[in-house]
Amino acid sequence: MKAKRFNQFLTALAVIMILSMLLSACTPATKTNPESDPTAPKQEQSTGKARMTEQGTPRNETLIVDALDGRITNPKQFNPYIPGTAYSEGFHQVCMANLYEIDGTKGDMIPIIAAKPAEALNADFTKWKITLRSGLAWSDGQEFSAEDVAWTLTMLSTNKDLPAYGFWNPLIKSAKATDKVTVEIEMNKPYPRIETLVGDQIFDSPFHVLAKHIWSKENPATFAAATPTCIGPYKLKDVDANGMWTLWEKRADWQKAAYGASMGEPKPKYILFKFYGPEEKRVLAGAAHDLDVFMDITPDSWDVLRKKNEYAKAWFDQFPYANMDDPCERGISFNTSKAPFDKLEVRWALALATDIQSVSMATFGGKMRFSPIQVPPLSGLQPLYHFALEDWLKNLQLADGYKPFDGEHSAKLVKSLAGEKGLPTDPKAQKELFGVGWWKHDPNQAAKLLQSVGFKKGSDGKWLTPDGKPWKITINAPANFEVQSGRLAFAVADSWKKFGIDATAQAMEGGPFWTAEGNGDFEAGSYWPGCGVQPDVYNQVQGWHKKYVVPTGQTAPGNRQRYKSDRISNLIDQLSPLKPTDPKIVPLVNELNKAFVEEMPWIPMFGTSKFVPTDTYYWTGFPNSKDPYFGPWWWWSNFPFILHKLQPTGKM
């Protein structure tokens, strides 16, 4: 009896312990009041003293940014030209700067260190003049000049110990400074897109100017540059020896820094890039106002954060919340050199077998934009490409006369999301938000296409290949990164399984995932070979040229889908010599879009949706759907576009 009572007591104790732990996890956000934070130094309410960060800076003067690269293994390495240097913990955002930067919303190249667009000195684009801004200085006070640019280009093209030498050497014939603000570059071959060579298009530029007065005394192939010399508006203040955070301080002479000179003073005095660990901890930190700017989180985490923190803001105030203008596109790629993916009918059949509505809901709860063409459906590109081709898409016929396009997908999605507030009712607005449309979900037509090339259905309802074997497809999916693509793979596999294909998704870590694509050691994968931010997508699409096709087993420099198309290659060749502003660009890219649709070497599905929220407790002024002055690409090198727009809220 005594033992029984004791066991009951133990059971009750265990239940109480578990419940209390669960309850504490579910407790509404305490909206941590800095004044009551027992870990903060005691502050007098009446003096209005600010809460301090652990790094010793006033919290209300510090912008805390999520660290994309995670913990940095060697936090004292700031050489941009050796592998292993972490870029996204502030180094390329606020310390370095590019000659030109992309405006992610409009697609324009904006001179940053340069003073104006590059000028071609001859008709074949082998000689260029770049005029730099005057009055710029490095963070150590030394004057920035054309000598730094010319020296860096020359060094890159002559230093054989650098990994990038193999690229720059064949390209650069000479680079010289003709005066303090003018650089003349001679190329070994025509290069009409010099601004994208020495400037940034997506994420960052391959070219970073180095301070000649520092680097000419060192070996650039091994010099770690533990204290970087910055041309950007911030300089390194402190770094965690264990790589968990990097602290940058606004330069006193910010007017002489890149961005500062052209855009004005960035507001945060300090910028702290900090790694909190798993997504759960980042959300907790955001709920406690210890993180202002988030890198990518899942829609589920966003739901938790917005409920715990009333100051948390996403791109849209309501559904779909996410920004859908990330310049890459998600879908399913194939190794088209492997049967049966070498057959057009099979690729089209797989597109028509995909229930794209279910895939959208399963991947990101419908918070994605449909895209049937290979150019990402950015707000700035849709009018030129997606909507411009709408009639063509509607009238597109396959070989048997079948019309595969369904322009009503956005309307259908909105209807299925009837419970969500703020969704557009106007069909045009629906398409602008959720895309121009996609392919019909038509298993019957898909079956017809498969049967036309010898596929049969077995007695169990599953598809058999022309040689009578069960048709199995494995879709490579990224594990633990690029969540959207990872989930997409599983959702598509599920859709194809319902169609009768034995399809599975295989989650892979980064190394094997990319190596498999490079070597062609895959049949299908949730890769993203379609990117672009400007109307001129040449830099992103050139990799599809047939000249890059190599046999499976060899690492492909480009065209990892191993797709040989004379039509696509010819169009790329026609794009190659054109300047980015040439009026022929858009019509040629549309011809490319048509070729990609008709030949379907890969199945584009959605634009990329990014949940990259901000906490507006300490800082406001972040771009959003109501004030889309820039894209929320905090990890790109053009992050300073946002810094000068931020305002402190005054909260302590």
Binding site: F6, L10, A14, S24, A25, T27, T30, P38, T39, E54, Q55, R71, T73, N74, Q77, I82, P83, G84, D161, L162, P163, A164, Y165, G166, F167, P170, D200, Q201, I202, F203, S205, P206, D240, A241, N242, G243, M244, F275, Y276, G277, P278, K281, L284, A287, A288, D290, G510, G511, P512, F513, W514, T515, D521, N539, Q540, Q542, G543, P557, G558, N559
Partner: protein, 331 residues
């Protein structure tokens, strides 16, 4: 003489185990479906800032830079020569050109500090509690202690760690979200920040480890209590304390010491989950990064330490056992 033969054979076994382990660590990653050059290039390519020709040119340069040219046997030969002659594992391939030894030297003290303290605390506490529970197994206190251990033991580490973070860094913000050492090493600010930052990870590891030691020691102690020599000691009038220390503990401790030695040897592998969840700088993260980035040199450097430590711990236990248990002789 017998001892010398025993010592010689154990040392030879130790060296063979280390050699086989390091050789396996050398070859296995090279058969994996990724390599460090592709890992670096993939990261660059995913940014869509580089053109195909640039990627191709960098591939050639990186193969040369990373020392991946030549046959596997040639690479193995140069590796052995470098390691045996100068103890140099080469540069990390993901954090090129930082030497592997620099990175390991930076991370290892943190792993050793955290794991050593938490392992010893869990071992001492767990065995003490287990001994009491086993000695007075029919008493209420024993049941409470055993029940608590059984309750804690099966909790998945990830859940426990997150619960501690939620409770003590968010709901009651006593500790920081992530570990961060402030100030210069060995100054008071540094020591304070290390203790504060390490408390939660240590608590999580002690909590998880405690359960196993309590349960195992309780089982051992309960069994030993049934031995005739314990009855004899009681009949002789030896006190409870004397029986517990001299008869039960001494006999129950032997397998626990073996397990402790092996756990201490395992410190050199770090604690990946702990480091990831608490933002703690340690060897576990280095190993994970090395594996994910196919960083051959770092894999070898970190795993070699672990192999040597575990093999060394086994060797030490083998040599020390006869001192702990006079019944055991060298053979």
């Amino acid at each position: 003489m017998r001892f010398l033969v025993f010592l010689g054979s154990r040392i030879l076994t130790f060296l063979m185990v280390v050699w086989i382990g390091i050789t396996t660590a050398f070859f296995v990653p090279r058969f994996a479906p990724s390599n460090p050059v592709e890992a670096v290039l993939a990261r660059l390519d995913s940014q869509k800032s580089f053109q195909p020709e640039q990627i191709q040119a960098m591939r050639e340069s990186l193969m040369e830079l990373f020392g991946l040219k030549g046959t596997l046997l040639q690479q193995y030969g140069s590796f052995l020569k470098r390691v045996l002659v100068s103890g140099d594992f080469g540069p990390s391939l993901t954090v090129y050109p930082t030497p592997v030894s620099t990175l390991v030297a930076r991370a290892l003290p943190w792993s050793l500090g955290l794991l050593f303290c938490s392992t010893i605390i869990a071992w001492v506490l767990g065995n003490s509690i287990g001994l009491i529970a086993g000695y007075w197994k029919d008493r209420t206190i024993s049941r409470i202690l055993e029940g608590t251990a059984i309750l804690l033991y099966p909790i998945p580490y990830y859940i426990l760690a997150l619960a501690l973070i939620i409770l003590f860094a968010y709901v009651f913000p006593i500790f920081p979200f992530s570990f961060s050492a402030q100030g210069q090493p060995f100054e008071w600010a540094f020591i304070k920040s290390v203790i504060r930052g390490s408390f939660l990870p240590a608590l999580s590891m002690v909590t998880v480890g405690l359960g196993w030691w309590v349960i195992s020691m309780k089982a051992l102690a309960s069994n030993i209590m049934e031995e005739e020599y314990v009855y004899f000691a009681r009949l002789k009038g030896v006190s409870d304390g004397g029986i517990m220390r001299g008869y039960v503990l001494r006999n129950a401790l032997l397998p626990q010491v073996t397990m402790l030695a092996l756990q201490l040897g395992g410190m050199f592998s770090g604690a990946l989950l702990t480091e990831y969840l608490f933002g703690y700088p340690g060897v576990g993260t280095l190993i994970a990064q090395a594996v994910l980035g196919s960083d051959y040199n770092m894999i070898l450097g970190t795993i070699s330490f672990s192999i040597i430590a575990v093999a060394g711990a086994t060797l030490i236990i083998d040599l020390a056992y006869p001192f702990l248990d006079p019944r055991i002789r060298y053979r």
